[in-house]
């Protein structure tokens, strides 16, 4: 991907947007009061402006900025929509189109004269302005100069992709659809094989099966791209933006190799840019203000991407001033976006949610960067188009974090297929810890009731149990209505293949568990010792290539082996012969999901649910299994929330959640340090850099020892005595950005894994306690506490 391609994409996209703009403008003339239409027009122009700024097309940015100004008036109702306004806006569209043509032809914006058009737009805008506060307009235009510094693209992006080929995404989509049809045809063919015995035919069918599977996977993978393709530009964008706003920003990217479907990357490009712009323009304070508030002058902007629970998670966090919910409330009231009684009823979370309403902006001034009140609703709309969600968490003075979750639309994830009330559901394997099966007497004794919920003692820890059938309010096993499966249809035919799909249970099976979650391995042996339990390590369920899609699956409606109990029977009463518990990780908690049975694992393709099912909780999407049947994918976190296993996460900032995860999390990588005979460990995730610290570099500020680090003052915490005679000490820069601390130690030993829990009895100030790591007692440092103590402020 290079500049030229990006520009081509921009041109293509803009042309489409302009067509939409034309249609909408004409429609608006017919229905001047249509708010939705007006919002859409506004968004289109705003998007255009953003893209132009992004590419440094100052002329286009100026045009769209003027258009946006006029549209703002329309939205406020200070200018009425009429033929003159529509004509001017249409002329704007034409002018933009002409400039786009110039760009296409010559790569530059050309020399067209737009003064007359700009004057018209300004005149129309001011017609409403006269009655308004004059000051605002000046702010609106004073920042026009910004566009020129906005983000000319860094060149050379993605050079050196030798041996790669650009393919039209539409072509891939068509291929994908064809493959989908091929899969279905294959499945039907395989059903015929059950009735045949001709070895040549069976061999050919098997071969076709294999090829189809590989083709399907291959096509899907061609669509995946690392998010770094998007992020590569961000540091530069952030820098230029920060400079334009007179701010300092440090940008921190994590998870750049997280792969997303190409289509998703395209769609989140805009929203992500908005969030970054917002964070820098509104979130992070000016350096003087930051210093006055006791923060480092440079703000911190963090972007994280990771896969969890079958979703792509994107977080954009800053350590700026946070969102003033009272101001949001006042603004929303003033603009008439909510009624006073609504405003009064909203809690903090609800008020934060208001920022996603169209038209709401808390920025005092309007700039080219942000502050028009569009943006957040565009962000939300675009993300929801993908079937995703966006949440905001903010603490006044501490910062704001936006958490975006997007289904991996076309990404392939492994999932365990479970049955409940006659239906099959997919559980993303990323959330799966282990499977526990209680049989007979075990089932009766193992599940113990507590007030309001059953628990199971998993290795002497109480595991809350969540019954899937109750959560889904499954009324009855799948009725054999005309709609029912197993009555004719495809489902009934594949029963011949059912047996091979039932997973082989092995009693206390051993073996390396290639599970990414650390610390599980050590549990396997204990699990075996547990009396009478069937613990199935994940490895037994690993998908076997070529076998997974071999018509895998129990015929729908007849979920698996005889152990299926009727739904609704209460496990605690011992009527259910066996209890199948799927132990899941939801956020920082674990819970046991009680299902009727488990089947195989499959590599599934996550697809979003249609809009009619958007509001339905507990599902992360749907997928099509190898046998062509649609199954729903369970949203593990949603289940946990719905069942009350995890508290609502809103209101907690990224840093707090990270801290909590650090405190409660399971085994995690740590950096081992040695100082003055002590062995210390720091969570690797909190480590920013390792530096050498010459003795002379340590200075004093008051009673504190500090050093100059990247133009800032970094407080030091020294473990052990200062080395003699100018020797080099090792410094570990760690902590939350904005509240970092330098740990001065003698030596850096190793990176290893530490158990989750330190012994609290050994806890001292600045440590979480001691633990045995690598056979030696090691103190686990509490980095936030150290940073607080060293920084002397909160």
């Amino acid at each position: 991907m290079n500049d030229q391609n990006l520009v081509q994409e921009f041109l293509l996209e803009s042309h489409e947007n302009l067509e939409q703009l034309d249609r909408d403008l004409v429609a608006l003339e017919a229905a001047p009061g249509d708010r939705d239409l007006l919002d859409r027009i506004f968004r289109t122009v705003h998007t255009l402006k953003g893209s132009c700024g992004f590419f440094g097309f100052a002329r286009l940015a100026a045009l769209s900025h003027h258009g946006e100004g006029l549209l703002s008036r329309l939205r406020e109702g200070t200018v009425a929509a009429g033929p003159a306004v529509t004509s001017a806006l249409l002329a704007l569209g034409d002018a933009v189109r002409a400039v786009l043509g110039d760009i296409r032809a010559g790569g530059a914006e050309g020399e067209r004269d737009h003064t007359a058009l700009l004057a018209t737009l300004t005149a129309l805008t001011e017609r409403g302005q006269r009655t308004e506060d004059r000051g605002q307009k000046e702010e609106g235009t004073a920042t026009d100069g910004l566009s020129s510094v906005l983000c000319p693209l860094s060149s050379g992006l993605g050079d050196g992709l030798e041996g790669s080929l650009r393919v039209d995404v539409g072509r891939l989509d068509r291929l994908m659809n064809l493959v989908g049809e091929l899969v279905l045809a294959r499945n039907q063919l395989l059903q015929f094989t059950a009735a045949r015995s001709d070895p040549a035919f069976l061999g050919t069918a098997q071969r076709l099966n294999q090829i189809t599977t590989e083709l399907q996977e291959g096509i899907m993978k061609t669509r995946m791209q690392p998010i770094s393709t998007l992020w590569n530009k961000l540091p530069r964008v952030a820098r230029d933006l920060a400079r334009a706003c007179g701010k300092q920003v440090e940008i921190d990217l994590a998870g750049a190799d997280t792969e997303l479907d190409k289509a998703i990357i395209e769609t989140i490009k805009g929203p992500l840019a908005h969030l970054v712009r917002n964070a820098i323009d509104h979130g992070i304070e000016a350096p003087e203000l930051r210093t006055a508030r006791g923060k480092p002058a440079a703000g911190w902007l963090s972007l994280r991407a990771y896969h969890e629970g079958g979703l792509v998670h994107l977080e954009v966090g800053d350590d700026g001033g946070g969102i003033d919910v009272e101001r949001v409330r006042r603004k929303a009231l003033a603009l008439g976006l909510i009624a006073p009684e609504e405003a009064a009823a909203l809690d903090e979370g609800g008020l934060l949610g208001l920022i996603f309403l169209p038209g709401l902006s808390t920025a005092e001034s309007v700039s080219n960067v942000s502050g028009r009140g569009v943006g957040m609703d565009v962000v939300k709309t675009n993300i929801e188009k993908l079937g995703g969600t966006v949440e905001v968490q903010s603490r006044p003075g501490r910062g704001t974090t936006f958490h975006v979750q997007i289904p991996l639309t076309l990404a392939i994830i492994p999932a365990l297929i479970v049955t409940c009330a006659g239906d099959r559901y997919a559980v993303p394997q990323a959330s799966l810890l282990e499977l526990v099966r209680l049989e007979g007497e075990q089932a009766r004794r193992g599940v113990e009731p507590m007030h309001g919920g059953d628990v199971y003692r998993l290795r002497d820890k109480l595991l809350p149990l969540v019954y899937l059938d109750r959560q889904l309010q499954a009324p009855s096993p799948q009725p054999l209505s005309p709609e029912g499966r197993g009555v004719g249809g495809e489902g009934g035919l594949c029963s011949g293949l059912a047996r091979c799909a039932v997973p082989a249970l092995s009693r206390g099976a051993r073996g390396p568990a290639p599970f990414p979650r650390q610390g599980e391995k050590s549990h396997q042996d204990e699990a075996q010792a547990d009396d009478g339990q069937w613990v199935i390590p994940e490895s037994d369920f690993s998908p076997r290539p070529g076998e997974v899609t071999a018509g895998a699956g129990v015929p729908p409606g007849r979920p698996g082996p005889s152990r299926l109990a009727p739904a609704g029977s209460k496990a605690g009463e011992g009527r259910r012969p066996d209890v199948q518990i799927v132990v899941l990780q939801a956020g920082d908690r674990q819970f046991g999901l009680v299902v009727d049975g488990t089947q195989d694992t499959e590599e599934i393709v996550v697809k979003p649910l249609g809009r009619h099912l958007k509001g339905v909780p507990l599902f992360a999407g749907a997928t099509i299994l190898g046998d062509g049947q649609v199954v729903l994918i369970l949203d593990v976190l949603g289940l946990a929330r719905s069942a009350g296993v995890v508290a609502d996460a809103s209101g907690r900032t990224l840093a707090e959640r990270a801290q909590q995860a650090r405190q409660r999390g399971s085994a995690r990588p740590v950096l081992l340090l040695a100082a003055d005979g002590r062995r210390l460990a720091v969570p690797l995730e909190s480590v920013a850099r390792l530096e050498e610290l010459p003795a002379a570099a340590a200075e004093r500020a008051g009673r504190r020892e500090v050093t100059q680090y990247r133009g800032r003052i970094l407080p030091l915490v020294r473990f052990g005595a200062a080395p003699a005679g100018g020797a080099l000490a090792q410094m570990v820069v760690c902590g939350e950005p904005g509240r970092q601390v330098g740990l001065v130690v003698d030596r850096i030993l190793d990176v290893t894994e530490a158990p989750a829990d330190a012994d609290p009895a050994t806890r001292e100030e600045g440590t979480l306690g001691a633990a045995v790591i690598g056979g030696q007692v090691t103190e686990l440092l509490d980095v936030p506490a150290l940073a607080r103590a060293a920084g002397g402020r909160d």
Partner: protein, 163 residues
């Protein structure tokens, strides 16, 4: 020359309906459905339409008609919407019909509440009324039951904020 419109037609019991043919992507036979717990009752389930997951709406329920007779295997009228296609389940599928605009009449005042929005009007065919459905209104299914933990500080799914 009198204006003519073309409709894709289908039956629900004795009633004969039509949807503008331009909105219909295709007609599909009976498909195996995956039911969706907690979904609005109008949502009959999900089907696999050549590798795409499509929501199937129970038109009978949407239009306030009784349950289909036993043994009936509904067909799907797949209509295009702004965000993907949706399958409307009908008892039987009729022909694509071209009708004279002059035979059209607005629904009578006696048509109850919401039905007036769903049904744009009727074409008076010989011996049969063709009821014209507004696909967009039909697809405006009331939202599912509120999330168990609604009111989070988040905008999740629908237009929840500000509510």
């Amino acid at each position: 020359m009198a204006a003519r419109r073309r409709f894709c037609t289908f039956w629900l019991g004795e009633l004969y309906y039509g949807v503008d043919v331009l909105r219909v992507q295709e007609i599909i036979g009976h498909q195996e459905l995956t039911r969706v717990p907690l979904a609005p009752p109008e949502v009959r389930g999900l089907i696999n339409l050549r590798g795409r997951i499509v929501t199937a709406l129970d038109l009978r329920r949407r239009l306030g008609l009784g349950a289909a007779p036993d043994g009936l295997r509904p067909k799907g009228v797949v209509v295009r919407t702004d965000d993907g296609v949706v399958s409307l389940l009908a008892d039987e599928i009729g022909d694509v019909l071209e009708v004279e605009e002059s035979a059209f009449e607005r629904p009578p005042e006696t048509l109850a509440g919401e039905m007036r929005e769903l049904i744009q009007g009727a074409y008076k065919l010989p011996g049969q009324l063709l009821l014209v459905l507004d696909p967009d209104e039909v697809l405006e299914v009331p939202a599912a039951a509120a999330r168990p933990h609604a009111g989070r500080g988040a905008a999740r799914g629908g237009a929840e904020c500000g509510a």
